[in-house]
């Protein structure tokens, strides 16, 4: 996948990704209108389908609200790359089929607006300068869930757990 980069800092928490007052919504479309509203009110208008979010350390810390990755998915963001992720966010995103890439050092190497290319199977990000950054591939168990399109399709394909 290839997309334009939107950069965010360290400790991007679920309250800025999707503020608590919008938890009343249960669908991606309504949630996506408030994606990143805690930091940038117009993010939903600026971001385009296929764009990639690049964050610092501890991305997605805070609450267990799945509404946060849903808002990101609803905007059509194709992947989130960060130095590191908070645990619940990481699982939630994978469960709804949003690819997350943990790539230490990434935020210093890419700038906002540049195009990067991610190869999930090979574990390589190609940045605008042409440099290739390797990242640790997802554990096979999680890659499998992602390749099934998320946890629910995975359960349906694995009826006898």
């Amino acid at each position: 996948m290839e997309g334009k980069v939107w950069k965010f800092g360290n400790d991007i928490d679920t309250d800025v990704i999707l503020p608590g007052r919008y938890l009343i919504y249960n669908d991606e479309e309504n949630l996506s209108k408030h994606c990143m509203e805690g930091l940038d009110e117009d993010f939903d208008k600026k971001a385009q389908k296929g764009d990639i979010i690049v964050g610092g350390t501890n991305f997605g810390c805070g609450s267990s609200r799945e509404h946060a990755p849903m808002a990101i998915k609803g905007l059509g963001i194709s992947a989130v790359v960060a130095e590191s992720f908070a645990r619940i966010f990481y699982r939630n995103a994978c469960n709804i089929g949003v690819p997350l890439v943990e790539a230490p050092g990434i935020s210093k190497k890419v700038s906002e607006g540049e195009k990067i290319n991610i190869d999930l199977e090979k574990g390589i990000i190609k940045i605008a300068s042409g440099e290739e950054i390797e990242f640790k591939k997802l554990p096979p168990f999680m890659l499998n869930i992602l390749n099934n399109g998320g946890l629910i399709p995975w359960i349906k394909n694995n009826p006898d757990l």
Partner: protein
Amino acid sequence: MSMTMSEKILARASGKDKVEAGEIVMANINIAMVHDLTGPLAVKGFKEIGTEKVWDKEKIVVPFDHQVPADSIDSANNHILMRKFVKEQNITNFYDVNQGVCHQVLPELGHVRPGEVIVGADSHTCTYGALGTFATGIGSTDMAMVFATGKLWFKVPETIRYEINGDLKENTSAKDVILNIIGTVGADGSTYKACEFVGQTISDFDMSDRMVLSNMAIEMGGKVGLCEADKKTDEYLKGRTDKPYKGFISDKDANYETIEFDVSDLEPQLACPHNVDNVKPVSEVSKPVDQVFLGSCTNGRIEDMRDAAKILKGNKVADGTRMLVIPASKEVYSKCLDEGLIKIFVDAGALVTNPCCGPCLGGHVGLIGPDEVSLSTSNRNFKGRQGSPEGEVYLSSAKVAAASAIKGEISLPE
């Protein structure tokens, strides 16, 4: 065969003799909790899976707490949806708008037992670790899987043991201990890890103090925040559950990292905007406050109400400052009434509301506006957490909150 407490619990839950950090296991879940805000999405996921009946109608607990009573048509609709689901599935443990905050209600009503595995569609589910329970927050899709199968996959976490010793000073409390730890190790200082809280200070702590520590394990990225079950745990559970349970403790030669803290000289602590690990001693901060919030699953228990009432008795909340008191549950509220604490709060000029999450997550009552400052006994001070992203949230103990309400600015309890 040495194992940590988490490894032992996950081994038991997945039917194995031994598991090791890093391994992925499929664990049987003892209790699953969803509330009014995260429930609807879990139900949606459950319906998508297509299983007709939940795996066990007695093991699902549904408390309403985040938006109670409903404050909008949308939240009323969420409540209707959840009530319908509870009825359809004959879920036995349903607590409507009058019972209180999930993480207070579950232990109080006997749904939390040592050695078991609890998942909740709420990040502060780790609170139950105070009773020696492997309890962690999950998202709604994970919960849909639990509803359908009673199982969930876990990566067995590595363990950090926080060994805490020393007697606390009179004006400090468990909240200061955990803020001090988070300030030291950072907001990602325990990411993916099982945190264990051990040592003399923890043995001396009662259940309420231990819950404060376990509750905030997630604020340093922890998967669970465990205390060893002991006599105090048994005492707490007496009359709350009649099911047998068995606690576990880590073997001495198990694989874990230890971080030591001596809290004998600890001063009252404050988490400053906009991160929980931005911690400073209260004595170094001077700041007028618009709103003081006493409550939440961190510090809305009877012990916190007593701490605050002792300071507020005969005093008034400062002009220009408003104070919101929200007992965490019906049980806490009722005890406050019996002990005359509500009168103390009301006479001091505070506003007392029904048990609920209140302004803690900025989705219900008591939101703050732009440039307003909130001092809160809850667990998160992220930008916009309690309302406007231009507002500021500071976190403290109940004692600091009460003293600050009287002065109208952040102050040390005497």
